[in-house]
């Protein structure tokens, strides 16, 4: 909501500087977004008198003028305009002046003649023909009929010696979408009197209103109140300069006296109004109804609007003539030859107006106000104010009487002032008298302990609402600051949050940096990772109104997000990257409104030092940091996202926790990467169920360990995992540790075979082991390896 400081002075006498005003209003609860001086743009432009005007010697269309701008010597200016005469008053931009749109004027020469400035048109001063209807359309603005003097700053002539304050109005205060509402707030904030004016209409125009006009409201649920008056023998003309200036400051384009009056009242009262040309209101009947079967209406802006049956329209006997609360119809628009006018001042259901405006994509000043549910008590004073202005401007003859259909009038509301409860909520000690005083400043009377809530404050319904009013004018910043008393609570993280934190810390210790990616993704991500058509991850929750395809489904895997980021880093020529994300995925659950949102640990990396075992080691380290049960890896050859020979399923306990491996080269290629890319996906929610018992101390070994190296040859197909399991099983309880230390292929080893070497560590808790203890174990291991895996000792 923009208001003019000059216009505001009509209601409150405030001398504060712009900065002070902004500060005090903001602190009192009406936040000022910006304040703009209207004269900030145009600089060093003065009213000048043309002393002489002669043809330019080297041009057949330019003129050389001597201009008196109130200084000792006249200024020579060359102009190409053809409408300037000797003796005219003209806006004269001097050397080093600024015009609309940041145009900077400096002295120069035009075809050899010195020109120390420029004569201006209204456009060059940021104005339109609507602002100054008498100004020349395509020439210099001749100021002879304006009230001005030679040497005067042009801003004063335009009416730019004003500031426009833009307020951020909150949803609960529709009354502040009006000058009077903000004047009321200003009066309360500055504790100065509010000067309100009761409109006085003389009336007496020819005819009897009820005989000329009839209003029906067959849909009272959408039309809470409809108030109308009539003006006859209207003389359509531009409105006076003071009214045009105020409208321009409020950001509204002046049109003609009748339309300007409706807009003027809308700014003052916050009540949208409309003026119909009476001759097009067929049958003298206004019917406020749902559109029903009427399919379309051409609105004032010349656009044909497709109507929906539930939209509220203003109709005459035969057809819609306006879109209620949004915009009038072209068919009943005020025209230069309009003679009789109907002023509509109505109150419509906010939700209905909002839906109509939204459906038609035409949010107007009027609809924006109606959708906030404005005060139904405003319609009458507003229509009277409009008629008063008609009489003031001599724009027509107002008929006596008012048509006022009241379908829903708010009941007067009151509630008790409860000082103790208010102080208890605020933590203050404000006296009852002070509270009453703060409310009085806001024009809210308190009688016998009862707050009589005015109709424009439907937001005041309970003690807490009153507490806010008291706090606003007591000062939020005057309320003490205290620390909470009462029962103490134990703060901190839940066990699952601690696990997530620990996983992040472990990943970072291993060189992975944290990333954050969007939860909504493109459905094509699953194609890029080569997910089969029947992949359950294709069951994605779809956004019905996404910003675009790229963010249109909730992800069911975090792999495409990770690959996106790895690919981006690769494209940025970053040589290597190790990244992790603690990412949620969103899995639809049959029969439930909300999906299951488990958290994943997603790891991804590429770079010269990366390989499968590096990633696997990182995963193992993370699991060990999280203290899970022991992990097992099984080859996976069928996951199309991964290299068929370099992918493993991770099992902890008997649960499948995740997948890790090298990304399939075709998938990497889909992301524009031709290097080896690695990724691991670990499901946290499952991890929480496979944690080992909490760690406790075990006594350090008292007897020394003995180790034996064991190298044997076996078929290439035998996996280290299986061999390890076989050895562990066969060696018995004395074996404490088994460690792979070499795999050898080549000279001395048959084709299709490999040599595998383990270091075995034996130890007993109660004695030093001897060969006699260890030999049987080793024998048993060798027998088992030979029998189960065809392994032969080297």
């Amino acid at each position: 909501m923009n208001i003019s400081r000059n216009w505001l002075k009509e209601f409150v006498d405030i001398q504060a500087s712009d900065r002070e005003y902004d500060e005090i209003m903001t602190i009192a609860g009406q936040k000022v977004e910006t304040t703009t001086r209207l004269d900030a743009e145009i600089k060093n432009v003065k009213v000048g008198r043309v002393l002489s005007i002669v043809r330019h010697q080297n041009s057949d269309h330019m003129w050389v003028c001597q201009i008196d701008v109130g200084e000792a010597l006249p200024v020579q200016i060359v102009t190409g305009a053809q409408n300037v005469r000797q003796g005219d008053l003209v806006p004269t931009a001097l050397h080093d002046s600024w015009l609309a749109g940041g145009v900077h004027i400096l002295s120069g020469k035009l075809r050899g003649e010195e020109s120390n400035g420029m004569l201006c048109s209204i456009q060059e001063l940021g104005l339109t023909h609507n602002d100054f209807p008498d100004a020349c359309e395509d020439g210099i603005w001749i100021l002879n009929d304006e009230d001005c003097a030679v040497g005067q700053d042009i801003n004063e002539v335009i009416g730019n010696n004003d500031s426009v304050v833009e307020f951020e109005i909150t949803n609960n205060r529709p009354d502040c979408y009006s000058l009077i509402g903000l004047a009321r707030e200003t009066a309360a904030a500055f504790n100065v009197p509010l000067k309100l004016h009761e409109p006085v209409v003389k009336g007496g125009g020819p005819g009897v209103l009820p005989e000329l006009l009839d209003v029906e409201t067959p849909d009272p649920d959408l039309c809470l109140r409809y108030t109308a008056r009539m003006v006859r023998n209207v003389k359509i003309a531009p409105s006076p300069k003071w009214m045009r200036q105020r409208l321009r400051a409020a950001g509204i384009r002046p049109i003609n006296n009748i339309v300007d009056i409706t807009n003027y009242v809308m700014v003052e009262y916050g009540q949208p109004m409309h003026a119909f040309d009476y001759r097009y209101v067929k049958g003298g009947k206004i019917i406020v109804r749902r559109a029903g079967e009427d399919a379309e209406l051409t609105t004032l802006d010349g656009t044909v609007r497709k109507l929906r049956p539930e939209m509220l329209v203003i109709a005459d006997e035969t057809r819609p003539v306006g879109l209620a609360g949004v915009m009038g119809g072209e068919n009943s628009e005020i025209a230069p030859d309009t003679v009789d006018v109907v002023f509509e001042s109505a109150n419509f259901d906010g939700t209905s107006i909002r839906k109509t405006a939204l459906a038609l994509g035409m949010r107007t000043e009027a609809s924006a106000k109606f959708e906030k549910n404005i005060d139904p008590m405003l319609t009458l004073p507003a229509v009277n104010r409009a008629c008063e202005l008609v009489e003031l401007l001599g724009a027509g003859e107002v008929l006596d009487g008012v048509i006022d259909v009241l379908n829903c009038v708010p009941e007067p509301y009151s509630l008790p002032l409860e000082p103790e409860r208010i102080n208890a909520l605020l933590g203050t000690d404000i006296s009852e008298a002070d509270m009453v005083e703060y409310l009085r400043r806001e024009q809210i009377p308190v009688e016998n302990g009862q707050i009589l809530v005015p109709s424009w404050r439907p937001d005041l319904r309970r003690m807490a609402d009153i507490a806010e009013e008291v706090a606003r004018f007591y000062g939020y910043n005057e309320i003490p600051t205290t620390l909470m008393r009462g029962a103490t609570t134990r703060g901190g993280y839940s066990p699952s949050q601690k696990l997530v934190n620990a996983a992040g810390a472990a990943a970072r210790a291993l060189g992975f940096s944290e990333i954050i990616t969007y939860s909504f993704v493109s459905p094509t991500g699953l194609d890029l990772i080569r997910a089969p058509k029947d992949d359950p991850r294709r069951e994605q929750i779809k956004l019905l109104n996404p910003l675009g395809e790229d963010t249109s489904v909730m992800r069911t895997t975090a792999l495409p997000s990770m690959l996106d980021i790895l690919a981006r880093n690769n494209a940025y020529h970053n040589k290597a990257a190790r990244l992790y994300e603690l990412a949620k995925i969103y899995l639809p659950v049959e029969g439930q409104a909300l999906p299951y949102e488990p958290k994943l640990l997603m790891l991804g990396c590429y770079g010269p030092d990366e390989n499968f075992y590096g990633l696997k080691g990182a995963v193992e380290d993370i699991l060990s940091q999280l203290n899970t049960l022991s992990a097992r890896f099984e080859a996976v050859t069928t996951d199309p996202a991964y290299h068929p020979g370099r992918c493993a399923a991770l099992y902890v306990g008997d649960k499948r926790i995740g997948t890790l491996g090298q990304i399939h080269p075709l998938v990497a290629k889909n992301y524009g990467m031709d290097c080896e890319v690695y990724a691991a996906e670990l499901n946290f929610t499952d991890l929480q169920t496979v944690l080992a018992p909490e760690k406790t101390f075990r006594a350090l070994p008292r007897f020394p360990a003995t180790s034996r190296d064991l190298a044997f040859v076996c078929a290439e197909t035998e996996t280290v995992g299986a061999l390890e399991a076989c050895i562990t099983q066969a060696a018995g309880p004395l074996l404490k540790e088994i460690k792979l230390f070499d795999i050898y292929r080549g000279v001395g080893i048959a084709q299709g075979c490999k040599s595998v070497a383990f270091s075995l560590t034996f130890r007993a808790e109660d004695r030093t082991l001897t060969d006699a203890d260890i030999e049987p174990a080793m024998d048993s291991v060798l027998r088992a390896l030979e029998a189960g895996h065809g392994a032969v000792r080297r």
Binding site: T26, G29, K31, T170, N171, R354, L358, A424, L425, L426, G427, T428, A464, A467, A471, R472, Y476, N477, I479, T481, T482, L483, M484, R485, G486, A487, T489, R490, G491, G492, Y493, S494, Q497, G504, A509, G511, S513, E514, I515, I516, T517, Y518, S519, F520, I541, K542, L543, L544, P546, L547, M554, Y572, R578, L579, Y580, K584, Y586, A593, L594, E597
Partner: protein, 342 residues
């Protein structure tokens, strides 16, 4: 014999002096003092001496041995020290050569800022709570006193997943207030609920359709607006320094009453107005207020017995200010060169 002993001594001293390294000393010790050494050889001839001479010579021989041994030890110490010096000199390194270090990973700056906030509130007894991002309109709006027809519910502002507008991507972390009250039931409640939220904003330097908020909620007997101010002032001073100036200003949220916004005085211009604060002198930090009695009632908590406050902080803005990050897009771009800076 006496001359012999003196000779041994002087030759031994000369030899020890000439020795260049510790191993030579060992050879000399054997040669001079060993069983087959020179001194032993001389002593073997003692038997031939008279009983008068024997003790005198014995004494002399012992003093020679002691002198050689002492000299030997001293020389060893000298040579060892010299050898150590030489070794250390040889081992000297160019300490300006960069250290070898395994690369550590980096926490995302957003979560560094979040961790700081969490620590502050955990210290005040807040429990950290998480909840669903795909949320019921009922929790995101209705139970937060945001009725049907409120503009925030528009399809132009909120992402919906069901045609009847019943399921959405939460637009705020405030539904966690409702979830906390329903889960904990019996005050005292002190929770902090950080998480992702979604609004239909196109991506630019200050907007993203997905961003993060931190929700806080306190419910207990006798909680006042003064407590709200005290708590938030503690937060601001912990984050931005003891000398930061905080301002509370009235605002409106459907689910709090009274409501406020909290500004901190611009650090750059100290309130005078500069480009950082867009000339206002103040920077908006967060929204807060006393929990609306209707919200309490909706969660089965009697507003005549209990009161509480709630607040919501935009995490991106907090992190961007904390690390002077100029463009929101950097946060979600995840360039490793960006991440390594934190």
């Amino acid at each position: 014999m006496k001359e012999q002993l003196e000779q041994i001594k002087s030759r031994a001293f000369a030899a020890l002096e000439a020795a260049k390294a510790v191993p030579e000393l060992e050879e000399l010790r054997v040669r001079l003092l060993g069983k087959k050494g020179e001194l032993t050889a001389v002593l073997k001839m003692m038997g031939k001496l008279s009983s008068e001479e024997r003790p005198v010579m014995g004494q002399l021989a012992n003093s020679v041995r002691a002198a050689i041994e002492a000299r030997l030890d001293a020389r060893r110490t000298e040579l060892e020290a010299a050898a150590l010096d030489a070794r250390l000199a040889a081992e000297a390194l160019d300490v300006t050569v960069p250290g070898t270090k395994p690369e550590l990973g980096h926490r995302h700056p957003m979560y560094i800022a979040l961790d700081e906030a969490k620590e502050i509130f955990i210290g005040m007894g807040f429990q950290i709570l998480e909840g669903p991002e795909v949320e019921l309109a009922d929790y995101n709006f209705t139970k937060l006193n945001t009725e049907e027809g409120h503009p925030a519910r528009d399809w132009s502002d909120t992402f919906y997943l069901k045609e009847d507008s019943s399921v959405l991507l939460r637009t705020q972390t405030s539904p966690m207030q409702i979830r906390a009250m329903e889960a904990i039931k019996q005050p005292p409640i002190r929770i902090l609920a950080p998480g992702r939220v979604y609004r239909k904003d196109e991506v630019d330097a200050t907007h993203s359709p997905m961003f993060h908020q931190i929700e806080g909620l306190v419910i207990d007997k006798g909680i006042t607006m003064a407590d709200l101010k005290g708590t938030l002032e503690t937060l601001v001073k912990s984050l931005y320094g003891e000398d930061s100036v905080v301002r509370f200003r009235p605002h409106h949220f459907p689910f709090t009453e009274p409501s406020c916004e909290v500004d901190v005085q611009c650090f750059k211009c100290r309130g005078a107005g500069c480009p950082t604060c867009k000339g206002e002198g103040w920077i908006e930090l967060l929204g807060a207020g006393m929990v609306h009695p209707r919200v309490l009632e909706g969660c089965g908590i009697d507003p005549s017995v209990y009161s509480g406050f709630a607040f919501g902080i935009g995490l991106e803005r907090m992190a961007m200010r904390r690390f002077q990050i100029s463009d929101l897009r950097l946060i979600f771009e995840n360039d490793i060169r960006f991440l390594r800076q934190f």
